[in-house]
């Protein structure tokens, strides 16, 4: 290699470095940082705030639904509220949650890199996200879009509520997603340390990588489509307006071309977290590394071919319905491959029951149950009955929200010692985990029943016969919210008072655990050379350590 000037001299190998939390003090050192770990933490704060906000909206909705008639808010507010809830949860919480927090934090370390390929782009994506969040929230609260998160025309182009500012906000959030996706893809491709071949990339990285590909390709289409709805609304461009020659169903095609893949944007990172958790707590090699790695990829690709299953009742030929149904089931096959591989990994593993592992079990239940109801609604004859009922609401909350939320919590506990160098209270972690699961089931299981019995979604009032199911669901929502707040408190308390954690408390072989308890600013003094896989549990910890050299 030619000798070139290196910006800032790397400390000698072995020198003791300060950790990234202490590497600079003051507000400036945080707001202008380009350290992927600090940016991850700042996303953490924002995204958790959004989760709380979205959760508060949900509680208002559920409270309103306690009685068949008006309860606490008016019908108009109700419509705005479910729109706010959906928009906040989808674009402000779920999409950025795992990638931008945990992906940002561990992805570079997991491939032996000192940072992402474009650290300043990473920081920019944080600010773009923050701007997008402010615009979206301000617009939704002030103008109050009442269209639901799906923005279906013709309603969305004729409603008196403001639509354009909201979709502009979401467009900005999309820009942030694309920035992050470019960064993750380029980093995974070009910055893996020597020895980390494609066959040795941790499974979480595969998941984030596949997610980024979907983000990169689907987000622009969505951004443009909803922007057109906003323009139709204000300027009457009529792209989707039948009175001006437009076709509202075309909107649905474009919207779901993005938003079906987008559900995998939300769930693939969760699958990645789960793969890490399973291997670590079973102390085993995954039953098949390639099955897990490539099925993410399969999902990412086939995910673009299933969108029509949202439109069975919007009018489509029998042939198309059959094709879209079949493609949807292919996705289910790829998901099932993962499930079987995880279970096979656990088989005869030495399982440790810590909080992340418990979340894995909840995840497994919700993902399988939710996925199977997905296959059911992907069958046209059944979907005609369930479409636009609470059954669909329950389906996607089980798989998407249940899946992402449990995995998010698993990740929050699993990487907590690495991120903050402290241990959380395990009994409290386990307890809140039970609470989350029970609350979740109680909230959404009754919704399957209500939907199957015919209760439509997004309705402000309903016949009295559905009340008992709604009351159960509302009770569950409060339980879920309580458990979430406790889980958060548990982590916040550990942040300050938790006992110090060792560098690798779960005895994982994955590379991010090679760093000191709290990683130093640039992760590694020099880029390491790694001569083993991330799941080499047949090696002892010393052997595993010895195969990583930080010398050039």
């Amino acid at each position: 290699m030619m000798a070139h000037e290196v910006e800032g001299t790397a400390p000698v190998h072995g020198a003791h470095e300060v950790d990234y939390l202490r590497a600079g003090a003051g507000v400036r050192s945080w707001l202008l940082t380009t350290d992927h770990k600090r940016i991850g933490l700042m996303f953490y704060v924002l995204v958790v705030l959004m989760l709380l906000l979205g959760g508060a909206f949900a509680l208002v909705l559920r409270t309103e639904l306690l009685t068949p008639g008006p309860t606490v808010i008016s019908a108009a507010i109700y419509n705005r509220m479910f729109t706010l809830h959906g928009v906040v949860m989808v674009w402000l919480f779920m999409i950025p949650s795992i990638p931008n927090i945990f992906g940002n934090f561990v992805l570079p370390i997991m491939i032996g890199a000192k940072d992402l390929a474009f650290p300043r782009l990473n920081l920019a994506s944080l600010y773009v996200y923050a701007i997008g969040a402010v615009v979206t929230l301000a617009a939704t609260i002030a103008g109050g879009a009442d269209t639901g998160w799906t923005f279906y025309p013709p309603y969305s182009t004729t409603t008196p509520a403001g639509v354009l500012p909201v979709v502009i906000g979401i467009f900005i959030l999309g820009v942030s997603s694309i920035m992050t996706a470019v960064n993750f893809i380029a980093t995974t491709h070009t910055m893996r340390a020597r020895g980390i071949s494609w066959g040795r990339v941790p499974l979480f990285v595969w998941a984030i990588y596949s997610t980024s590909i979907i983000m990169l390709l689907a987000t622009p289409v969505l951004g443009l489509t909803i922007l057109l709805v906003g323009l139709d609304h204000v300027y009457h461009f009529g792209v989707f307006d039948p009175t001006l020659g437009g076709d509202p169903v075309l909107f649905q095609h474009l919207f779901w071309f993005y938003s079906h893949p987008a559900v995998y944007i939300m769930v693939l990172p969760a699958l990645g977290v789960i793969s890490e958790v399973v291997c670590t707590f079973a102390q085993r090699q995954p039953a098949s590394y390639w099955a897990i790695a490539l099925s993410s990829f399969g999902i990412a690709l086939i995910g673009f071919a299933g969108w029509g299953h949202h439109m069975f009742v919007a009018g489509m030929s029998e042939l198309d319905a059959g094709i879209f149904g079949a493609f949807s089931m292919f996705i289910a096959i790829f998901s099932a491959i993962k499930v079987f591989t995880w279970v096979a990994t656990l088989h005869r593993g030495a399982i440790q029951f810590n909080t992340p592992m418990l979340y894995f079990f909840w995840f497994l239940f919700l993902f399988v149950f939710g996925g199977m109801t997905g296959v059911a609604v992907a069958t046209q004859s059944l979907d005609v009955h369930w479409h636009d009922t609470y059954f669909v609401v329950a389906h996607f909350h089980f798989i998407m929200v249940g899946g992402t939320l449990t995995a998010f919590l698993a990740a929050a506990h699993y990487w907590f010692p690495k991120m903050f160098g402290r241990a959380y209270s395990e009994p409290m972690g386990l307890l809140t985990s039970f609470g989350v699961f029970l609350g979740f089931i109680l909230t959404f299981l009754p919704q399957f029943l209500a939907g199957n019995a015919g209760m439509p979604r997004r309705y402000y009032s309903y016949p009295a016969q559905y009340q008992w199911l709604n009351v159960l669901s509302t009770g569950g929502a409060y339980l879920l919210a309580g458990a979430l707040v406790l889980a958060l408190l548990n982590l916040l308390i550990a942040l300050r008072w938790g006992p110090r954690a060792s560098a690798n408390p779960w005895r994982s072989r994955s590379y991010e655990w090679m760093t000191p308890p709290i990683p130093p600013e640039h992760n590694f003094p020099v880029t390491p050379v790694i001569d083993r896989g991330p799941y080499d549990y047949h090696l002892t910890e010393e052997e595993a350590h010895a195969r990583v050299s930080t010398a050039r």
Binding site: M1, M2, H4, E5, V6, E7, G8, P108, A113, K114, D115, L116, A117, F118, P119, I178, A181, V182, N183, I185, A186, T187, H189, T190, M191, L216, L217, A218, T219, P220, V221, G223, L224, T225, L228, D232, Y235, H236, F237, G238, V239, L244, G245, G246, D247, L250, L254, H522, T527
Partner: protein, 220 residues
């Protein structure tokens, strides 16, 4: 491009950022990032192309009439203008590689002038349309082609060319910044990544126009 002898020393050596092991990796990452970003840009336009294709399938005849009404002379001149500017940008990359940043800066200035000319022509065209009462959507007033299909055609015409013009403008800002850098002698042989990436972006803008040109001016 006149011949040039390799210089004795580099004008402005590339700087290696902390996170990369060597310059080769750094350049590779930058190129890779740019290419995948361009893929994303292509999909942004793909949504509009999909709309165009769908509505053309519905309103074939009226779309042809709309295309025929557009001024193919302006459209074609604009194509030639953009292609030439892309050529100048490509030459400027070459010049930087030969360690002649001033020359590169002049070539970029030429490209910028052509980009501006493109926008001016586009403005002329828009003005003509507005005079005829051709506006997007419900504001459409052009009596000769009153059908819903022509209205949709021109709405899509304004959307695609408008989005494209935004990209041209962004591209001009990038080129301007690179030009400034060239005249400050910030780039040179071995340090041409920025110029190359900016050039790639400009070529993308050009390529998208190559698709818009037949769609909006020729296919009738």
């Amino acid at each position: 491009m006149p011949e040039s002898q390799p210089p004795a020393e580099q004008l402005a050596p590339a700087r290696l950022a902390m996170q990369f092991e060597d310059l080769e990796k750094q350049t590779h990452a930058a190129h890779f990032g740019m290419w995948i970003f361009l893929a994303s840009e292509v999909l942004l336009f793909a949504g509009l192309f999909a709309l165009y294709a769908s509505y053309r399938a519905v309103f074939g005849h009226e779309f042809s009439a709309g295309v025929a009404h557009n001024n193919a002379v302006i459209g074609t001149s604009n194509t030639a203008i953009l292609l030439t500017s892309s050529l100048l940008v490509a030459l400027s990359v070459y010049a930087v590689r030969l360690d002649r940043p001033t020359m590169a800066g002049r070539l970029l200035l030429g490209a910028i002038a052509l980009g501006l000319a493109f926008l001016v022509l586009k403005g002329v065209e828009y003005t003509q349309h507005f005079h005829e009462g051709i506006f997007p959507g419900s504001a459409y007033r052009f009596e000769e082609l009153p059908q819903a299909g022509a209205k949709m055609f021109f709405t899509l015409y304004f959307l695609t060319t408008g989005l494209h013009a935004i990209h041209v403008t962004a591209g001009l800002v990038v080129l301007g910044w690179l030009t400034w850098g060239c005249f400050r002698r910030r780039y040179g042989a071995g340090n041409d990544t920025h110029i190359e990436l900016g050039g790639l972006y400009w070529h993308l803008v050009d390529v998208i126009w190559i698709f818009l040109w037949p769609m909006l001016y020729l296919m009738h």
